[in-house]
């Protein structure tokens, strides 16, 4: 798949998932759709890495999951942020803001 989009930086997928789920609980496919939208415009995400990431986040207790009816009427596994996940998202968001800021400062100095 040749593309001008750049590959997703290491470890950012977790953050993206947390971000998506911070809006509302969603099932794997829903998250995938959302990721697809993002990836169409900005970055390239391998759909295959979504599920290991979801299970990893669940294991870390940042997400909780339950089976319930989806919009099509079929049962789907819905993921939602836990309190710990919310805290983690805040931490990561803060980290990224600071990193981006720092990088910007370095570039600005070079001008």
């Amino acid at each position: 798949m040749p593309s001008a989009r750049f590959p997703i930086p290491q470890g950012t997928l977790d953050m993206l998932i947390l971000q998506i789920l911070s809006l509302e609980p969603a099932h794997g496919y829903g998250i995938a759709q959302r990721l697809l939208q993002i990836s169409k415009s900005v970055i390239q995400i391998n759909q295959g890495s979504l599920y290991p990431a979801l299970h990893r986040l669940e294991q870390k207790k940042w997400l909780k999951a339950e089976w319930r009816q989806s919009e099509t009427g079929r049962e789907a596994k819905f993921y939602a942020l836990t309190a710990a996940g919310r805290k983690q998202l805040a931490t990561e968001r803060d980290y990224w803001a600071r990193l981006a800021g720092a990088v910007q400062v370095i570039f600005d100095e070079g001008k």
Binding site: A32, G48, Y51, P52, E75
Partner: protein
């Protein structure tokens, strides 16, 4: 780690869940794609492309659940289990080997743990110390086992608050107890008021002793029950508090029940109740010396302050102790002793020893034998491990093709090694489970070797968490150890060499297996020699016997003083019973002794002998007081002089004369072969000891404390010069049961409330006194046989493997004209080399181990050449037999078949 273990357990559920989740994703995606115009096949292809293969995805998620190595290990175990199901005989042999080793080790460890290692269930037991008087005491009397001090000294030590958070003392005794019905001999502990508070024991119900219960002599008739006694005798009735029980016929009030699990300070003598020391005159009838500083009868314990070490406390105590000695020596009632003895008395030191396990003569007696047996089981387990390692090596060589194919396909050597290790760990765990199931039975059998009265109260054959943990650790260690060799071997061999080898010609770690078998033989030699030594010790002791004829001889004890009799009345009662028993037609003769024989204890003291010159015995003489006919009843020869006669037994006031009979050993040590008759002796060694008792006879040596004993003994007639006795020795005529029946009736008629204790035949008594020796002989013998079997199996395995491997070579030899005998010799020589080498390696260890067990032996040296040669011959012959079967097979190899094997 725990999380992963949990995940592993619900793996199936997780897998299903994931399957559903992925299916949902795929179905929805295909739906969407077909809606946007793709054909279904096209859509499916697109989905697969997007998610990159379902199987791979599932693998990745599994990695999240389990982490890599846990998952690999789980697969390994599953793979191992499957492959074991395919070779049940192999698996059974390996599991049984492990079960045997682990079961035996766990069982012996259980006893070691209970008798030797187990700390008291009290608050911070490691801070407890026991006091010991090292030097010369000025005691006027002492009774009990060891570490004996007096009650006033215990009170003194309670004051040493700069070193101790309290001190307490205790003495074991047996009381006659009635809780309403019969008077039953019952174990009790006489304790100071500080006992429970310093130990930190809480009551189950009621209250425990405090200092108030131990402040005024004779003023606190109260007892505390043990939890077990409360449960069995009172059915855990909550209203026992305030009830009265009769202790040696004195009513005493129950004030509380101690915490469950607390069984006193002595594992070998578990008390049913506790009595305050202030009531010692009741607990120990006739004892009125509690406040005498020089009567030693209690063990004193202290609890070290957290900031004080044992060494500091011991050093810090000495100034006070010296002052106490000097002070005491100036008191008017201090006994008169020689200046030299006085000097040594003043030089005495009060020593401290750790006492986290309490105080126990049983531990003293059993700890060395138990450690010896524990060592032997450890060796047995090592043998089992070696056997399993040998089995695995053989299996490994059969599987070498599979293993090398896996290596060729890219498995790492570490991965293959881990697979092999998981094999052995799985087998070891299975063996461990089986062994643990068997362990309680083995422990029960072990306890059966010990005298029943001790074992019943003190030792348990149930499993506890400590024991289970031990079994698991041992199993894992055994599994790893026996898996190491095959795993190591798998990692070492060259892949290329292996794949180009001819089928069936893999060396299979043959050299390693031969080394293992050699080591097994060496270890077996050690065990066999040890077993032979213990068996010879036992047979020597049984052949020696107690020095008198035990057939038709029974003994029993009564203790009227404990039932409230005065000394005189007790004497009269015993004398009456004696007369009646002697008159029975079923009785040949009957006698009484002050102290029972063959129970491990004795009455002893140093003596002064007045012959040509006045000398003191250089060590304590074992003393006893007996009635006339004692020697003739036992069948002991009076070698010179005369036996006691009735006149000797009269009280001094009625013209009784105190005389003495000494034994051969006494005459030999102190009279140098001259006749001791006519010489005079006295008890004690002080300058003012009167040596006024004439020696009137010399008896041949008999066993007093135990069968091993060859010691100086002196006997006095009962009553005239010693207190009364209560142990009867009766030689029966005809039916023993009838005689015992009649005796019971006589005692019952004399006093129905008088308990009849320790009714046994002397054969029984002899065998009781040899329990340790019997346990050592039986167990080490059993271990020796098992070890021999294990190494024979090992050797047989290696030899048959060699034959299979060398079939071609043997075929060629036969084709070239080798005889059957020559072919057999080819293999037997192999076995012989391993055996001889094993024996040669073992000999130095036999010598070294001999020093350890020397003190347990009797009449045989640990380096006894006959024993060692016999063990070597036994091993050589059995190993040759084991090798003969494969060797015969080799000799029947037909050259044509062998060459066709290619």
């Amino acid at each position: 780690m725990l999380k992963q273990l949990f995940n592993w357990l619900r793996l199936r559920h997780l897998e299903q869940d994931l399957g559903r989740e992925l299916q949902y994703h795929i179905d929805r995606r295909i739906d969407d794609l077909t809606h946007s115009g793709l054909s279904e096949a096209e859509a499916r292809r697109q989905v697969t492309l997007e998610i990159g293969g379902v199987t791979q995805l599932r693998e990745e998620v599994r990695d999240v659940w389990l982490t890599r190595w846990v998952r690999d290990f789980a697969y390994d175990l599953r793979f191992s289990a499957r492959s074991f199901r395919r070779s049940p005989l192999f698996t059974a042999t390996a599991v049984l080997s492990f079960a045997l080793g682990i079961g035996a080790t766990t069982a012996i460890y259980s006893l070691v743990d209970q008798v030797v290692l187990h700390a008291l269930p009290v608050r911070e037991p490691q801070r407890l110390v026991v006091f010991d008087w090292n030097g010369v005491t000025a005691s006027v009397n002492a009774f009990g086992t060891y570490n004996l001090l007096s009650y006033p000294l215990c009170r003194d030590l309670q004051q040493q608050e700069q070193f101790f958070d309290g001190a307490f003392c205790r003495a074991a005794t047996t009381i006659s107890l009635s809780t309403g019905g019969d008077h039953v001999p019952t174990a009790a502990e006489v304790v100071s008021g500080t006992y429970f508070p310093v130990l930190g024991i809480q009551p189950t119900i009621g209250r425990l002793f405090t200092n108030d219960d131990d402040s005024v002599l004779g003023a606190s008739p109260v007892v505390v029950l043990s939890y077990d006694f409360w449960k069995t005798q009172f059915a855990s009735a909550p209203d026992v508090i305030g009830r009265k029980v009769l202790v040696n016929r004195h009513p005493m009030t129950i004030i509380g029940v101690a915490a469950p699990g607390f069984r006193g300070l002595d594992v070998g003598e578990v008390p049913s109740l506790w009595i305050p020391a202030a009531m010692s005159a009741v607990a120990i009838p006739g004892f009125d010396q509690m406040l005498n500083r020089r009567v030693r009868w209690m063990q004193v314990f202290g609890r070290l302050r957290p900031d004080v070490t044992q060494v500091e406390a011991q050093a810090g105590l000495q100034p006070w102790f010296k002052a106490m000695l000097a002070d005491d020596e100036r008191r008017p009632e201090f006994p008169k002793i020689t200046p030299d003895r006085r000097q040594r008395y003043l030089g005495s030191v009060l020593e401290l020893a750790p006492a986290a396990q309490g105080h126990s003569p049983l531990r003293r007696r059993l700890s060395q034998p138990l450690w010896v047996l524990f060592g032997a089981t450890g060796v047995l387990l090592a043998l089992a491990c070696m056997n399993v390692a040998g089995l695995f090596l053989a299996r490994g060589s059969a599987r070498s093709r599979e293993i090398f194919t896996r290596l060729a396909l890219g498995a790492s050597r570490g991965r293959i090694g881990r697979q092999l290790l998981s094999d052995s760990i799985l087998v070891a765990l299975a063996g461990g489970v089986l062994g643990t199931v068997l362990a309680p039975i083995v422990i029960g059998a072990l306890i059966a070797f010990l005298p029943r009265d001790i074992a019943a109260t003190a030792l348990r054959s149930t499993l506890n968490p400590r024991l289970l943990l031990f079994a698991v650790l041992v199993s894992l260690t055994a599994g790893v150890l026996s898996g190491l060799a095959p795993a190591f071997l798998a990692g070492r061999r060259s892949l290329m060499a292996a794949l180009t080898e001819r089928a069936g010609a893999a060396p299979g770690g043959l050299r390693l297996r031969r080394t293992i078998v050699t080591a097994q033989i060496a270890v077996t030699v050690i065990l066999l020699v040890g077993a032979a030594l213990f068996v010879r010790t036992l047979t020597a002791l049984m052949a020696k016997g107690p020095g008198f004829d035990t057939s038709n001889l029974i003994s029993f004890s009564i203790d009227p003083v404990r039932n409230g009799y005065s000394r005189e009345n007790a004497d009269r009662l015993i004398r009456g019973i004696h007369e009646e028993i002697r008159a029975l037609p079923s009785i040949q003769s009957a006698a009484i002794a002050n102290n029972p024989l063959l129970t491990g204890g004795s009455w002893n003291g140093q003596m002064t002998i007045q012959a040509d010159q006045r000398i003191s015995t250089d060590r304590e003489v074992h003393l006893n007081a007996v009635s006339p006919e004692f020697f003739s009843t036992l069948g002991v020869k009076i070698a010179a002089g005369r036996d006691f006669v009735d006149r000797d037994t009269l009280p001094a006031s009625e013209g009784g004369l105190c005389v003495a009979i000494v034994n051969d050993a006494f005459a030999k040590r102190y009279f140098n072969g001259r006749s001791p008759l006519g010489a005079h002796v006295g008890l004690g060694t002080g300058p003012d000891t009167k040596a006024a008792v004439e020696i009137v006879g010399v008896a041949s040596n008999i066993s007093y404390r135990g069968v091993r004993e060859e010691w100086e003994q002196a006997f006095f007639p009962l009553v005239s010069c010693a207190t009364s006795g209560g142990t009867f020795y009766v030689r029966t005529r005809g039916s023993r049961a009838a005689a015992i029946q009649s005796i019971r009736r006589i005692v019952h008629d004399a006093d129905p409330t008088l308990p009849l204790g320790a009714v046994r035949t002397l054969d029984e008594q002899v065998s009781r006194s040899l329990t340790t020796e019997r346990m050592l002989a039986a167990l080490s013998g059993g271990f020796g046989v098992l070890a021999l079997l294990l190494s024979l199996v090992g050797l047989y395995g290696v030899m048959s493997f060699t034959v299979t491997q060398r079939t071609r070579e043997i075929g060629v030899r036969v084709a070239l004209g080798a005889t059957r005998l020559a072919t057999m010799w080819l293999l037997l020589r192999d076995a012989l080399v391993m055996t001889t080498l094993g024996i040669a390696i073992a000999l130095p260890s036999v010598w070294a181990l001999g020093r350890v067990i020397e003190s347990q032996l009797y009449d045989v040296k640990p380096t006894d050449p006959t024993t060692i040669v016999a063990a070597a011959v036994l091993l050589c012959s059995t190993t040759l037999l084991a090798a003969l079967i494969p060797a015969r097979r080799a000799s029947t190899v037909s050259p044509v078949d062998a060459l066709r094997l290619e």
